[in-house]
């Protein structure tokens, strides 16, 4: 901001002269004083000037004054562009300045013989929501750009934006990818509420397409490591059995991996699968898998956006060490009724949505049911007899716009899986949740959200045949209350703060007789109770056009409360039933242990220019609930356990830095990120751990450390005839378990690769739009094989050949690679009579594992059936053949 200061040369000379004169002759004093008064003593405001009548801009008028030797100090950038009308000749400085003040509000004052001019523009707020013009669905992450610069803002999870700017006229551009942008010239001379409706770019589709966010989102957004999933008909990439799925899609992005087919859960940047906080409209989901981890519980038709935060996690989120997967459901079209659905080999689904009261409230209801009910074994062995595996989901959401400042949402989810295990046992598991949310605008600048959530995850196994037929159950119930506030001070500063609290009621296991004839005794493990709370404060600041920062602090805690039995162990011996020194009986609602910590978060974004930026971030997160599993690949039978006096919380420190670049006018987005993560208190099991209904499971656990680091390259083409992306992750994830007790030490206490460590992970996805109705897509995946422990020897015990192992995970399986193809054929969009066809449908033909590679999932080490007495290493593949699938989807 340059300050222009004008000095009239002559008066300065005269001042110096005055000083010189004073020194010489005192009898010239009076004359000198008179002279100096003439030169500098006269009030500058009273000085004579000549301004003719006319219309002048403020700046040109001020220039005229300084031409006439008037000392003015002002910043020309801050002067208003208004015009001043001079109707009669002005003769003094004061007259001129007063006229300027009356007509434009420019203030002036005298300070040490210099006239200071200032202009304080009033600030007003422009706020509102950006929606889809057809359905009324909020557009999340839509951008508002000011005066075609890079300044502006983005809509939040509710489609809400707020811009506080000085009074003036602005050229605003409202944009969202896949939609026609809206340009508006707005005069901001008061607080304005401005609701924007954007229409989709494509002609025929009724479906909301959410592919990527605003074209320069990846450059503009302060958050590094955030991935948004490209879902919907616009990205008809090949999925397993033709079932579009969020998690299958996520695996195609950098930094996100899984152990393999038939293993549930995502490993994000070297984190275990329980380190991802999965939120469905704010409710935590504990087991997001149907069907062996190949299909998630989230029905893509009802999903609006999925954001995976794997780099920087904003302070409002916490509780898991590696990532947050935030899934927001659609709200339902509040103008028209629609029914959509589809059917494939695996499942059939149906969604209905529409207004309850047009433009004011709407509903969305969706159901999905598995068909054919086969298991993976059946698929591989090509036999489809007896009902083995089935699942179903229901999603419902209602929202009501009470008035401009209040909106209420009620959403629910119910899911059930069923699977046959062993000879006659049946396993069932499922998530249920209900969320009630109230959005309230205290003012155009203060946005708030109050949420109440109830959720439950249950797992049950019933066996009518075994010794004492029984039903075994375990479950986790959560009650949560959240209050979140956002204060948009101006486009450069936003403050977010809030409080969350969750009550956990965790039943690790209950085993009751199957019926009155069973000889089972009832075994009920104590329910664990804990309250997990957090409070956070964050500030998003734009220091200049180039530098912006998002930082904040979160304070989280876990209070373990009774009733429960707490065991204390002899600290000099490793924990076991034999080393219990004391058993405390805690009363109801009494706090018996506290864990907690500060979680600082910071993320910096520096734009070199519109197309290039660099981002760096740091997160610290505490995790108080752990998934205990003693299988290599996670299974629905794994147990959740809260931290307490014997189990410490998992703490992660995550550093990342990334370079982001948009090429060719935002058609190509590219990023290169580096990360390093350090994890304390990683939990694993002792060999042969007894997990079944164990009252003191801490005696079977090992405590260690983990670290992971790597590089992620991502290049994506969003538009054009050929679209797609390339994702390459080069990383390492390792752990170490070291203790003074040998039974708690693995691999002599040195770092060894984690079960999910894969050095290289390359994905190449392409979509070719052959014609408006036909598109071809391919997905190629190459991954380093996961680590494996190979036997170093064998022996015979009890007549059986037993493999012997030494150090864990020192070898690797062969590499995994696979090519999938799909073809999308959309139905006619125009009927024969020229009208637009109401039913919009398409067929999807997909081929999984096109060159039928038998990717090795693991090895069996066993006695050869052909030559008894010798052993062999047998590779085991889950899908060794090509698997075709057909899916039909419709919407009307």
């Amino acid at each position: 901001m340059p300050i222009k200061i004008t000095f009239a040369m002559k008066s300065r000379d005269e001042t110096l002269y005055f000083i010189a004169m004073k020194r010489r002759l005192t009898h010239f004093l009076f004359f000198s004083v008179f002279l100096s008064y003439l030169a500098v003593g006269q009030n500058p405001l009273q000085k004579e000037v000549h301004i003719e009548t006319g219309i002048y801009s403020v700046v040109s008028l001020l220039n005229l004054l300084s031409d006439q030797k008037i000392n003015l100090a002002y910043s020309s950038d801050l002067m208003p562009s208004d015009r001043v009308t001079v109707t009669s000749k002005l003769t003094t400085v004061n007259q001129v300045l007063k006229k300027i003040k009356n007509q434009t509000g420019v203030q002036f004052r005298l300070s040490d013989d210099i006239i200071l001019l200032s202009y304080q523009r009033k600030m007003y707020t422009l706020s509102g929501t950006i929606k889809d013009s057809q359905s009324g669905e909020a557009l999340i992450g839509a951008s508002i750009l000011i005066n075609s610069g890079t300044r502006g803002t983005v809509t939040n999870t509710y489609g809400f934006y707020s811009l506080t700017m000085p009074e003036g006229t602005y050229d605003l551009s409202f944009r969202f990818v896949g939609y026609r942008s809206s340009e508006q010239k707005l005069k901001l001379d008061q607080n304005i509420e401005y609701i924007v409706s954007l229409s989709e770019n494509t002609e025929v589709l009724d479906e909301v397409v959410v592919s990527s966010i605003a074209p320069d989102y990846n450059v503009q957004n302060t958050i590094p490591g955030i991935s948004r999933i490209s879902l919907g008909e616009d990205w008809p990439i090949p999925y397993f059995l033709g079932e579009e799925d969020i998690f299958q899609n996520a695996l195609l992005l950098p930094g996100i991996q899984s152990i393999g087919e038939d293993a549930s859960g995502l490993n994000i940047r070297g984190g275990a699968i329980d380190q991802n906080l999965i939120l469905l409209d704010g409710a935590p989901i504990y087991n997001p898998n149907h069907f062996y981890g190949l299909i998630s519980v989230f029905s893509p038709e009802v999903i609006n956006t999925v954001d995976i935060m794997k780099g920087y996690i904003p302070p409002q989120y916490g509780g898991r060490a590696s990532s947050v997967i935030n899934i927001v459901q659609k709200e339902g079209n509040n103008q028209e009724y629609h029914v959509s659905g589809g059917m494939g080999l695996v499942s059939g689904r149906l969604t209905a949505e529409g207004p309850i009261k047009k433009n004011e409230s709407s509903f969305l209801f969706s159901a999905r049911q598995s068909l054919l009910n086969f298991s993976i074994e059946d698929l591989v062995n090509e036999s489809l007899d007896d009902s083995r595996t089935s699942f179903r989901d229901f999603n419902a959401k209602i929202n009501w716009i009470v008035n401009n400042n209040n909106k209420i949402y009620l959403s629910g989810y119910y899911g059930q899986d069923r699977n046959r295990a062993g000879f006659d046992a049946i396993r069932k598991w499922g998530n249920k949740s209900m969320t009630l949310r109230w959005n309230h605008l205290f003012s155009p600048k203060i946005f708030s959200n109050f949420t109440a959530i109830v959720s439950e995850y249950t797992y049950q196994i019933s066996d009518p045949q075994e010794v004492g037929s029984f039903i075994g159950k375990s479950n986790i119930v959560n009650f949560a209350l959240k209050a979140d506030f956002g204060w948009v001070i101006n486009p450069a500063h936003t403050i977010d703060f809030g409080v969350h609290t969750i009550l956990h009621k965790l039943k690790p296991g209950e085993r009751i007789p199957f019926d009155e004839n069973a000889s089972t005794v009832e075994t009920i493990l104590d329910t664990e109770h804990a309250i997990e709370s957090s409070v956070y404060l964050s500030h998003m600041a734009e220091f200049s056009e180039k530098l912006s920062v998002q930082y904040g602090i979160r304070l989280s805690s876990l209070l373990s409360i009774g009733p429960s039995e707490v065991y204390t162990y002899d600290p000099n011996l490793s924990k076991s039933d034999a080393t219990i020194t004391d058993t405390l009986n805690i009363f109801k609602r009494k706090i018996h242990h506290r864990h907690g910590g500060w979680e600082p978060r910071i993320s910096l974004n520096y734009h070199f220019n519109e197309n290039n930026s660099i981002k760096a971030s740091y997160n610290k997160t505490y995790q108080y609930i752990h998934l205990i599993s003693n299988t290599v690949a996670p299974a629905p039978t794994d147990i959740w356990k809260l931290s307490d006096s014997n189990i410490k919380p998992t703490i992660s420190d995550h550093y990342s830095v990334g370079f982001y670049r948009n090429l060719r006018d935002n058609k190509l987005e590219a990023s290169l990120e580096f990360f390093y993560k350090k994890i304390q208190n990683v939990i694993d099991f002792k060999d042969g751990a007894d997990l079944l209904f164990n009252e003191n499971i801490e005696t079977e656990l090992l405590n260690g450390r983990g670290q992971s680091y790597g590089m992620e390259l991502f290049i994506k083409r969003n538009t054009g005839k050929i679209r797609g992306w390339l994702s390459y992750t080069l990383s390492r994830a390792e752990q170490k378990f070291q203790s003074r007790f040998s039974e708690l030490t693995i691999n002599n206490g040195s770092y060894f690769p984690s079960n999910f460590n894969k050095a290289h992970d390359i994905t190449l996805v392409g979509v070719l739009s052959v014609s408006p109705r036909v598109s071809l897509s391919s997905s190629f995946n190459y991954k380093t094989g996961r680590p494996i422990t190979l036997p170093v020897g064998k022996f015979i015990f009890d007549g059986k050949i037993v493999p012997n192992f030494e150090n864990r995970n020192q070898n690797r399986l062969p590499s995994y690679h696979r090519l999938d193809l799909s073809l999308k054929l959309a139905g006619q969009s125009i009927k024969k009579n020229g009208q637009i066809r109401r039913n919009h449908d398409y067929w999807l033909f997909s081929l999984y594992n096109v060159y039928a590679r038998k990717n090795i999932y693991s090895y069996f080490f066993r006695e050869s059936e052909l030559v008894p007495g010798t052993t062999e290493v047998l590779p085991y593949s889950i899908f060794g053949t090509i698997i075709p699938a057909v899916t039909y989807n419709f919407r009307f």
Binding site: G468, V632, G688, T789, K794, F795, K800, S815, Y876
Partner: protein, 274 residues
């Protein structure tokens, strides 16, 4: 650049599954032995681990000095071939404690923990049940018969059991035919039925069952053995583990000894399927 990508892709794709090279490991001592309440010659087997791809599956130890000791008596064992050492005829006494002592030719002394010979309630009877299945080779529908063992479980203590099955006097010894029971969920039950569909019989076979009592450490060891021989590698597989039992090398503490020395009481019964 483009050509480099193309060539490397082709090379990657053409890499088939290569021969797996198994790592080398230290050779470890393996001990197996049981003391029972049956009047017979008891045996202890000593061997060493061999590389996994060896044609032989064990290496016998022929020159050790072995004895089973109770609190009062020491029973020496003599080598009888194939790594097996036999004692004179004796019967273990219920509620007595026994320890295995081995002196290797190197001078190393190996000792087990003291194992208690727990009593076992008698096997009351064997019922026979069946289910329909398909013959794995011919695909024909067949009827598979299996035994249901019936016994009483004492209430006062935690009991661990193993059932061993014989078909027409031939020991059923596949890894999935290892049957272990823990009374955690059925404690104190009378005439407890235990279904064993893993033991498969046909019409006309003779079923012989033995019910063995086990200590907790014996039970844990055999459970680990079962997991390591049945579920490694499958999609719900456990982590590979080392089968360290209740034996220790007293002379060189950091040398691992694999295997187990246990004590059981045995109760047997048999039935003919007709």
């Amino acid at each position: 650049m483009k050509y480099l990508c193309l060539i490397s892709t082709v090379l990657l794709l053409s890499c088939g599954v290569s021969e797996i090279e198994l790592p080398d490991g230290t050779q470890l001592l393996v001990v197996e032995g049981w003391v029972t309440n049956q009047e017979k010659q008891h045996w202890v087997k000593l061997s060493r681990t061999v590389p996994f791809d060896d044609n032989n599956s064990e290496l016998a130890i022929e020159d050790a000095v072995v004895s089973i000791n109770s609190e009062f008596i020491s029973y020496p064992l003599t080598y009888s071939g194939n790594g097996i050492y036999l004692s004179d005829i004796f019967a273990g006494i219920e509620s007595s404690n026994y320890q295995l002592n081995i002196e290797l030719i190197t001078g190393d002394l190996i000792q087990s923990e003291w194992e208690q010979l727990y009593p076992v309630s008698p096997l009351e009877s064997i019922e026979v049940s069946f289910f329909d299945d398909q013959d794995p080779e011919t695909g024909e529908d067949i009827v598979v018969y299996y035994p249901v063992g019936i016994w009483d479980d004492p209430l006062e203590e935690t009991n661990y059991y193993r059932y061993i099955g014989y078909r027409n006097d031939v020991l059923l010894n596949d890894p999935n035919e290892l049957i272990l029971i823990n009374d955690q969920f059925v404690n104190g039950a009378d005439s407890l039925p235990h279904h064993m569909p893993e033991l498969r019989y046909a019409l006309g076979d003779e079923i012989k069952l033995e019910l063995h009592s086990l200590s907790k450490s014996g039970f844990d060891f055999l459970e680990l053995l079962k997991l390591q021989t049945t579920s490694l590698g499958s999609s719900s597989g456990t982590s590979p583990a080392t089968l360290i039992g209740n034996l220790k090398n007293v002379t060189n503490e950091n040398q691992i000894v694999l295997g187990f020395f246990g004590a059981s009481s045995v109760s047997a019964d048999s039935v003919l399927i007709n």
